[in-house]
Amino acid sequence: MANILDIENLRVTFPTDDGEVHAVDNLSLSLSAGETVAIVGESGSGKTVTSLSVMGLHNPNSTSLSGHIKVRDGEKIVDVVSASREEVRSLRGRVVSMIFQDPMSSLHPYYKIGNQLGEAYLVHNKGKKAEAKKRVVEMLDLVGIPEPAKRAGEFPHQFSGGMRQRVMIAMALMNTPKILIADEPTTALDVTVQAQILTLLKDLQKEFHMGILLITHDLGVVAQVADRVSVMYAGNIVERGSADDIFYRPMAPYTVGLLNSVPKITIGKRERLPSIQGQPPSLINLPSGCAFAPRCDYKASAPAGACDASLPLLTGLNENHVSRCHIAEANRATLFAHAGRE
């Protein structure tokens, strides 16, 4: 199956007063139709920057991209990094769509829902007002908004958070895109609503056969919907594999740390939640060695001095499950086997 999205060696940097920020460093990722790929990582690890780059929504004046972001548009392949602004614009909402973290602020407060949805259709289907109207009601119905025709005439503030995220999903899918980027789609929602939204996304994915790039820090969400997972740390992918690989056979110390930090229902009343010690590094002056080395519990198991000397490559016994670690591939499985179960 051909990939609908291929990110190759993506680097994203932007200048600040303190120096150049290396938000994403040499990232490669692929997504095929009907598949859900999750990017997991803590705040500032480069997840959102990656997703905005795919949309071409980075600030063109201050951000510089290198590498390739190849998006399949029918027979054509468009590289978002090198394509003209107009080419990238025509992809947005038609081939690649995006839903955002905060549905409360992502809809324009002054325009009716129907107007905002219709606009998403009309921008790629000039002048088809009657179709747009029909499509709005159809999509609102599809995402589970009751009385869609009436609700289309209402304003965003008349909708609850969960309903607004449904509206955002409807808006993203107005032109049946091939790729949906979901940037923390459930973070701002109640837990029960989260589950509904995730189920809805899964159902719509089947119906439209689209690839979903899910950006999240919530491992619970990943476990529910992701087929493949990339774990990011300090602008790099530190581990990539199937969801089962990541949860049951983690191969990178950072993934192990993440899994151990998930709250367990068996935790004692007075016990502290486990966490990864230390702080993530500044993206301005990245250490020359492994970015995670200063916080790593397993440094002693690696060859002496290796962790501080160089950034390890993405390697693994099997090309579908790779991780960045100086510890020999053969030893990783046994060393990290207790992750998430202690």
Binding site: M55, L57, N61, R89, S90, L91, R92, G93, R94, S97, M98, F100, D102, S105, S106, L107, H108, P109, Y110, Y111, E119, A120, V123, H124, F155, H157, Q158, M168, M171, A172
Partner: protein
């Protein structure tokens, strides 16, 4: 919505009453005897006393205030018998300096101030808002820098400097716009003369305000550009032009409308400097003159009217907000 309007209306009326009373009391307790100011050098105690009774200054403060309020709605008659005269509603008192009803003076001054304020408002909104949009659109580029030079000049130069410059160069040196000697002509009787009469005052006022509004519009648009819903608009595939015109500008407009309404209100209260420079017989000039001449009834009236305009404009802003922002309507 009806509840919202009536609530705001009620508050406005109460505020207006309180302000009127405060102004009236302040002028009543001033260490001047208004009756003594009613006649000039050849005054004597008998005339002063007669005038005091005629104008009602002998009554207690409460009664005076009540008569003043009543006069606004019902008109007021001063004195009795053959010497009596009546100021019809709305009567704001009697100016003994000018020997006429204050409302007559106000009626003469008001159209001039309104024409000045409305014309300047239109001019500065067109210039300020469009420059602000351009500056925001080309942030950091040449246009942005050029607009900030304009802003610097507009904000630093006081009205009396720009006003005099315009007057000296446009009228006296270059004779582009003749000095206005024949006085105010209404817009409806002769639009050309009307424009000629007001063009320099408009430019003078608008220059200072346009600078302010350029800055303000730029800031408002840049702030709105960072909103999540603007990112959503881009994510739909809308072009930058449509994003700016339909999404950013619409949301950035609300604070501009508020500021414009309040600035407009304060101008109606009297653009004293501009009116003095161009010798426009508007409310500002009327106030100034009355202060010089201790014409207290006129000062009271213009002060109350200035306050009333601010209150009414505030009410209008609130209603405008409800039109602009659907969240307020609920």
């Amino acid at each position: 919505m009806v509840g919202f309007i009536s609530r705001r209306l009620g508050f406005s009326i109460i505020t207006l009453l309180v302000v009127t009373f405060a102004v009236y009391v302040i002028f009543a307790v001033l260490p001047f005897d208004p009756a003594a100011l009613t006649c000039g050098q050849h005054c004597n105690a008998t005339i002063v006393h007669a005038n005091r009774i005629r104008l009602g200054y002998d009554k207690p403060l409460w009664d005076q205030f009540w008569l003043f309020l009543r006069g606004i709605f019902m008109g007021r008659t001063y004195g009795t018998g053959a010497g009596a005269f009546t100021c019809p509603a709305p009567s704001f008192g009697f100016s003994f300096n000018q020997n006429t009803c204050v409302s007559t003076l106000l009626a003469q001054a008001f159209p001039i101030t309104i024409s000045l304020a409305v014309g300047a408002l239109i001019l500065w909104l067109i210039i300020g808002v469009s420059l602000g949009i351009l500056a925001a659109r080309y942030k950091g580029k040449f246009l942005d820098t050029a607009s900030s030079v304009f802003v610097l000049f507009g904000i630093s130069l006081p009205v009396f400097v720009t006003g005099l410059f315009l007057l000296i160069y446009m009228s006296l040196r270059w004779h582009i716009i003749p000095i206005q000697l024949q006085g105010y002509v209404s817009l409806f009787s002769n639009p050309f003369k009307f424009g000629e009469y007001f063009i320099l005052p408009w430019i003078t006022l608008a220059f200072a305000f346009a600078a302010l509004y350029t800055r303000f519009t730029r800031a408002s648009i840049l702030e709105t550009s960072g909103e999540d819903y603007i990112r959503t608009a881009r994510a739909k595939g809308l072009s930058e032009k449509v994003v700016l015109r339909k999404h950013t500008f619409r949301a950035a407009l609300a604070p501009i409308v508020t500021m414009a309404s309040l600035d407009f209100a304060s101008l109606i209260g009297g653009a004293i400097l501009t009116e003095s420079i161009y010798n426009l017989p508007g409310l500002g000039n009327l106030t100034l003159q009355s202060i010089y001449e201790f014409d207290l009834p006129v000062v009271v009236a213009t002060t109350i009217i200035a306050a009333a305009v601010v209150i009414v404009m505030n009410l209008i802003v609130d209603l405008l907000y409800a039109v602009l922002d659907p969240r307020v309507r609920a």
